[in-house]
């Protein structure tokens, strides 16, 4: 997006939620020692999100969406087990931390 028209820069900061820091950690583990996926795969997957994703999704939402796609592509996860697990997590609500 270098050079595109854009407005003022919002300098307000927020700290990341634990789930966001876990997305970050998963990416570091999968791309580093585990060699399950590459950082470039993460980037490619983010670029492949729908055009409005940059505005409608947060930073780590884009990361987990792309990371999950790469794991599905690689056959590390199946759509069936992911769907079933998401339904279970969703029904249960936030986990104890």
């Amino acid at each position: 997006m270098g050079g595109l028209e854009a407005g003022a820069i919002d300098q307000e900061a927020h700290d990341y939620a634990l789930w966001e820091r876990r997305v970050d950690a998963l990416m570091m583990l999968l791309s580093g020692p585990r060699r399950i996926m590459t950082v470039d795969q993460l980037r490619k997957g983010i670029e492949a999100l729908p055009p409005d994703a940059y505005d409608s999704m947060t930073y780590y939402e884009r990361w987990i969406a792309s990371l999950t796609n790469a794991l599905l592509d690689a056959g590390v996860l199946t759509t069936e087990e992911l769907g079933a697990r998401m339904a279970r997590v969703s029904a249960r609500g936030p986990e104890a931390e």
């Binding site: 270098g2 470039d40 795969q41 980037r43 690689a74």
Partner: protein, 104 residues
């Protein structure tokens, strides 16, 4: 063995995509422009292959190339001495010889 040396004038390819639809690390705003090699960063896995999860498919020399801001942006609002430096892989570059730097 790197193709270019520090100080060489290089032109960034203007093709897009350079290969079938892919992930590339060369921003649009420098494509087709001429700059000068600032340093040779070393050899790194080709990100355009890594994007498909292919580690070690090929290794490429990475350069830092310096461009004059006034060449990149028509009506650039700053002195002519302002520059931008950016990392570009060798396969995105060709020799620019003694063409005027503002070409492109």
């Amino acid at each position: 063995m790197s193709r270019f040396a520090v100080g060489d004038r290089v032109r960034v390819h203007d093709l897009w995509p350079p290969t079938p639809p892919a992930h590339v690390r060369t921003p649009h705003y420098v494509r087709g422009h001429v700059g000068v090699v600032e340093r040779i960063c070393g050899t790194f896995g080709n990100p355009e292959e890594l994007a498909f999860g292919r580690r070690g498919a090929s290794y490429e020399t990475l350069y830092r190339v310096r461009f004059r801001q006034a060449d990149l942006w028509p009506g650039y609002d700053g002195p002519g001495t302002d520059h931008i430096e950016i990392e570009i892989y060798e396969f995105w570059l060709s020799p620019a010889g003694s063409e005027p730097e503002s070409a492109g």
